[in-house]
């Protein structure tokens, strides 16, 4: 009899505890309702891509030396480097350069291995077209400057999470001129110099 009552008591305790857990969960869910939504309402609000964002590739025609390293390093040998050896100037002459962004995987190998830094990655990701042949960018299209979110009058630019001040989670309603969390390189240099000066002052004095 006593054992049965003890079982009932234990079971009731478990029930009360689970009810408490459910209540805590409900308070969390309810608390979420008073927060501002984090939705980035594209196309009226767009995220500002980060500095190393791997978007569309940019090509400087005049810097290219037609070494074809980008082709050899590309996982699919994608860039089409149309060059011809000019016997008069004894140099390679680049006639045409193209990358098909319908096939490119945006890995960035070509950018990393280019010896003259004529290849770079921009922040442009809106490459949608109506026909896939329009995605085959020639050197003119590759040399165009990318679309900037901050220049578009119809768009409110939103900072990504890494660029928000410390403790801020929502890019909406950020006060103008907010600094991102962390120190700039100049500040770190100044700090280390100050620490070194202190150490040398102690060892000398």
């Amino acid at each position: 009899m006593l054992k049965f009552l003890k079982q009932v008591g234990d079971y009731t305790k478990e029930v009360v505890q689970s009810a408490k857990y459910i209540g805590q969960g409900l308070s969390v869910t309810f608390d979420h309702m008073r927060r501002r939504p984090v939705t980035v309402q594209y196309p009226y609000e767009k995220l500002i891509p980060s500095e190393r964002f791997r978007g569309r590739i940019h090509f400087e025609f005049d810097k290219c030396i037609s070494c074809e390293v980008c082709v050899r390093v590309c996982p699919i040998n994608l860039p089409v480097v149309d060059w011809e050896f000019n016997k008069a100037t004894k140099k390679k002459e680049l006639k045409h350069y193209s990358i098909d962004f319908g096939v490119c995987i945006f890995c960035g190998n070509c950018v990393e291995y280019c010896p003259t830094n004529c290849l770079s990655m921009t922040e442009e990701y809106e490459l949608a077209v109506y026909e896939r042949h329009e995605l085959n960018y020639d050197s003119v299209a590759l040399g165009r400057l990318p679309y900037k979110v901050t220049d578009d009058p119809m768009v409110t630019p939103m900072r990504e999470f890494a660029y928000l001040p410390k403790g801020v989670m929502n890019p909406h309603d950020l006060p103008a001129g907010s600094r991102r969390a962390g120190k700039t390189p100049q500040e770190i240099v100044a700090e280390t110099q100050a620490a070194q000066a202190k150490v040398s002052a102690i060892t000398e004095g």
């Binding site: 969960g25 969390v28 309702m33 984090v38 939705t39």
Partner: protein, 372 residues
């Protein structure tokens, strides 16, 4: 307060004034309350779907539908329209008649149950003497439809899903009935109007939830399980059996399931508010306010105001419960089928029985409080 504005009488009399015989006038009156309730329940379901989308979005720090109509209120309409235009497929080698009638049998009893839902003392289709019992009996027809849908889909996973859904439905029917029985015992009547009137007169303090707290929790959990809402939505848990018994359905038949689940939800919330939260009673009784201002009960404008307040209170309570149910959906993880059935048979059933016995004992000892 049984006298007052008699909508039926005045309608029939006005039609008779146009020269129609009494029988024809009555026959024209008959479908009107049913049509109003049908339209009303569909609009209520649309509001419930909108609430689900917006409240779910708010709980997840999103916005939800925004551009479909102001504040996204046309979103459920867009949902329904999309389903109307979709192709209605019957799978190969599926039993055509069972496949077609399955959703109907799942949905029609729910709409029929709106017969007994009162929005005011005389604002219901028909004061059936055994109101809540009719609802429980009708909701017992639903498992047959689930079995039909699961079997007729010619898909072994749908069959399993249908069997699981039926097991769930049957398991939670008994605690539901026992909780309702405790209420009926306290109110000395099965009629929903009598149950609400038994809670009237004391405002907020007269609600059944104070006298039957455990019964309220049991009824709420059992109603959630009957509606197949999280945490009991195993039949339509997308990761488990795709969509369970609803997998092979598309177009209008799926719309019936979808609509039916939200109608069931709204109906359950309505019944919880009627049985436990006082139905159309305001927290401060309207009779009290009108007697302090010495206005007689039968003045027409007071009747209209009382009726409007009654409808408003019922809807406020119902949608507060729907809000709570949507919040629960995003709080509690889904239960497994064995945990689900354990909860129904081994926990809720004994607790509901104990609740019934306790209510019976309390009714004998304190007849004034627990219904003499």
């Amino acid at each position: 307060m049984n006298s007052g504005i008699d909508l039926q009488g005045t309608f029939i009399e006005s039609l008779q004034g146009f020269g129609l015989p009494a029988g024809a006038a009555k026959a024209i009156w008959m479908p009107l309350p049913m049509l109003i309730v049908l339209v009303g329940s569909t609009v209520a379901v649309l509001i419930a779907v909108w609430m689900e989308r917006k409240v779910s979005a708010a709980a997840q720090q999103r916005i939800g539908p925004e551009y479909i109509g102001p504040l996204g209120i046309l979103a459920p309409l867009a949902d329904g329209l999309k389903l109307v235009f979709k192709e209605d497929i019957i799978p190969a080698k599926a039993d055509k008649w069972l496949f077609t009638f399955g959703p109907m049998i799942v949905v029609i009893p729910v709409f029929l149950s709106f017969l007994i839902v009162p929005f005011g003392e005389n604002l219901l289709i028909s004061d059936v003497g055994m109101g809540v019992f009719l609802w429980i009996a009708l909701s017992s027809v639903v498992p047959i439809g689930l079995l039909m849908s699961g079997y007729a889909s010619n898909n072994k996973y749908s069959l399993l899903g249908g069997l699981r859904a039926t097991a769930q439905s049957l398991a939670y029917e008994i605690p539901l009935s026992l909780a309702v029985m405790a209420i009926a015992m306290m109110s000395n009547s099965l009629s929903t109007v009598d149950i609400v009137q038994h809670q009237s007169g004391y405002g907020l303090l007269g609600w059944n939830v104070w006298r039957q707290p455990i019964g309220f929790v049991i009824f709420f959990i059992a109603a959630l399980a009957e509606c197949e809402r999280t945490p009991f939505d195993l039949p339509e848990a997308e990761e488990e059996l795709v969509a369970g018994y609803q997998t092979e359905y598309s177009g209008m038949k799926f719309a019936l399931f979808y609509l039916g689940s939200y109608v069931n939800l709204t109906l359950s919330a309505l019944l919880v508010s009627i049985l436990y939260l006082g139905g159309w009673e305001a927290p401060i009784p309207v009779g009290l306010i009108s007697s302090t201002f010495n206005i007689s009960d039968t003045t027409p404008w007071l009747q209209v105001v009382t009726g409007a307040i009654g409808i408003l209170m019922t809807l406020v309570k119902t949608y507060a419960l729907v809000f709570f149910i949507v919040l629960i959906r995003w709080t509690i993880p889904r239960v497994r089928i064995d945990q689900l059935l354990n909860l129904g048979w081994k926990f809720l059933l004994p607790v509901a029985l104990a609740n019934l016995l306790a209510t019976a004992g309390l009714k004998l000892t304190f007849p004034a409080f627990f219904g003499g």
